[in-house]
Symmetry: C2
């Protein structure tokens, strides 16, 4: 049984040789042959290059320290699939990463190295059960049988006390918004202790639910050290919370998996700090591989970036990320893609056109809070814009009969 | 009370403006001003640019997605120190990272962004106690009062069953080596279950200790998901182990801190996968910042790379990493620098010349296992070479009267 890992490789060595460096480093792994490194052992444990595809060298600078043995400055580029025997590490995500990622990024023989994708054997599905809620479970708890899910982020990101947050949540709940989340900058800070915030927020949500029958989902940011994760989880759940937000890269996949081990509410997976791993095209780990590990570790909802957002990724990259999360893993591991960052009424059409699905949670911060007609108008404008997109009605046309869209368009189109 | 974070910034925007983007993104953080973002709130919570130092633009390509508002393709570069109010997040390392790192790496306004260093207020020292052993505790357990500490890594990295490992450990223990570690590729795999390995290894170590009085330290790799971390720790400690190895990036700082919460043996901090965060000069997190967090989370020993190693870093970078670990944090947080990767008899002189300290753990894999005279000769050769270096005797001269050095020189000088 093997793990198949796909890599982007750039090297001054011929591609075949560069791929063999990767396979070798992570099996025998020292600078000289050592006693005991028998043919039998190599046969059983050595990683194997399964396929190689040469690419035309990209116009890119080599990573620091890359060695050029021939001195001809000729950079080779390609994709390689390498098979790693599962019995080298067993179905443990941290130890999988030691093999398929580990020291690779440091090799001088490589001028560029990115882990693009992973194909995992079923032993991982046995060890890591599927997210407990996924798309269907999230819909059920939100009471949104079909259609897009609309949410928002607490803004300003930091500084609001629970009592300052109260009227904002009330307004959003009265607008029957589907989802609200803490900003990732707000976990359990002195100015807004989580226990107090959970109490205030859940009071407003319950009050709204009793009036309208709609129970907004609120993702409280429980991120912290492990003792905090557990304590924060218990704090919010005992206040009646129905979603826990975890910043995956700040607690590790192991931390996410830990939360899944006890969580009885959906886990909202935030990917803050991912740019450090992903932004360079020839270093780090691609989202395709990343999202599989996040789903194995229990993320019911996962941030993918949003169309036309304020960060570096192109819409096409984001489309691919969302499609990756929507693609079944071991036939399941359902996870709801979360679209965030600068989302507003002007981003709905492109989102629908590129994705053609309603199984999305669009989270708009400024796009709701800064709507000239207030937050309720912000929520309505997003839903109406989405309906127009699905119906094939251009946004400007929809705006003619819809003051919520018109105001939003006026406010956000030029931003 | 503030956290001071130092960044390398590259941007097509003027440096002042780029630094303000960083401070702004991580406080108000949405694409338009929102209600409630009062001057009072900003005053209290906004991060502040404390200093800016323009650097001559490096000959580097911008990160993907960097925007160039004026279109003049002029890249600005510099270092900025930004002050983050501690009350925004409190002394919690995961939540600290949300603020000082978080989404920064994704900002289109930045063409390069690396977190270089962190200066933390004393609240962090209150929350995160110092490593329990550090240099002195490690020396005490190893029985090495002074002088360099010499260790090795199990090689081949993978594939040895416990019974195949037994004679290797015996040979090393009889050579009175100070330290042995599992390779980071070997945690608890089917071919070498940790319980069985710990039993075999500790039998050999105890037998050696009874004969020679020297008790070799062995770092068992307990890396895994959190349940595995705890279980593996208990497995090795109940077998009598005296060191636990944790791959920090595979379990997160939170995972490391979790191990520290219960560990009664030194924690050997391995940094595999760090290249993904560190190798690009203008993306990610520098080791200076990283090592402080690792020490706060309890690493008693920390990998820093070794001189003339097989990875991308220069000797000068490695020297700086080691000096950083040796520099007191809050007046303490002692942590033993671990030098590894292609270490052998030929790397001792440069190590001494650059560092002028004995408080180092040099871990040689091939440099010991592949010594022509056997592993004991490998251990002796390293100790003798170090003594020669300290005494100012060139290696070639020392080799004349020392067959262990001579053989090693013959074997490794050309590698």
């Amino acid at each position: 049984m093997n793990v198949l890992a796909r890599y982007l490789i750039e090297s001054f060595f011929p591609l075949e040789q560069a791929a063999e460096f990767i396979a070798g480093e992570q099996s025998s792994g020292t600078f000289v042959p050592v006693p005991g490194e028998t043919d039998e052992l190599k046969q059983k444990f050595r990683a194997r290059v399964v396929s190689l595809q040469e690419l035309s060298p990209l116009n890119r600078r080599p990573l620091p320290g890359a060695i050029d043995p021939s001195g001809d400055e000729r950079l080779h580029a390609g994709e390689a699939i390498i098979a790693w025997p599962l019995h080298n590490f067993g179905p443990s995500i941290p130890n999988l990463l030691a093999a398929v990622a580990g020291n690779l990024f440091e090799l001088r023989e490589l001028a560029g190295i990115k882990l693009l994708d992973l194909e995992l054997p079923p032993e991982f599905a046995e060890r890591y059960p599927a997210p407990k809620f996924g798309v269907e479970g999230t819909r059920r708890l939100m009471g949104v049988e079909k259609g897009i899910m609309v949410g928002t982020i607490v803004k300003p990101s930091i500084g609001l006390t629970p009592e300052q947050l109260r009227p904002i949540v009330r307004e959003l709940v009265e607008a029957e918004i589907d989802f609200i989340k803490d900003d990732e900058l707000m976990a359990n800070p002195p100015y807004s202790p989580l226990a107090e915030r959970a109490r205030v927020v859940m009071e407003e949500i319950e009050r709204g639910a009793q009036r309208t029958g709609k129970r907004t989902m609120y993702a409280f940011n429980i991120t912290g050290d492990l003792d905090e994760l557990r304590r924060n989880y218990e704090t919010i759940v005992s206040a009646g919370a129905n979603c826990a937000m975890v910043c995956i890269n700040l607690v590790g996949f192991a931390g996410l998996n830990y939360v899944r081990s006890f969580s009885e509410v959906p886990i909202h997976g935030h990917r803050t700090m991912i740019g450090a791993l992903m932004r360079h095209p020839a270093l780090g780990i691609d989202f395709k591989a990343y999202q599989k590990l996040a789903r194995l570790c229990g993320a019911d909802q996962l941030h993918c970036g949003g169309m036309k957002n304020k960060f570096y990724e192109t819409d096409e990259q984001i489309r691919q990320s969302i499609e990756a999360v929507r693609h079944p893993l071991f036939g399941g591991y359902s996870c709801l893609p979360v679209l965030a960052s600068a989302q507003n009424v002007t981003t709905m059409h492109v989102t629908w056109q590129r994705l053609r699905t309603d199984d999305l949670l669009v989270v708009a911060g400024g796009g709701i809070h800064a709507h000239p007609g207030g937050r309720a108008a912000g929520v309505r404008s997003l839903r109406s814009a989405w309906k127009a997109a699905v119906a094939g009605v251009p946004l400007e046309e929809a705006a003619r009969n819809d003051p919520d869209i018109a105001q939003a368009l006026d406010r956000f189109a030029a931003v």
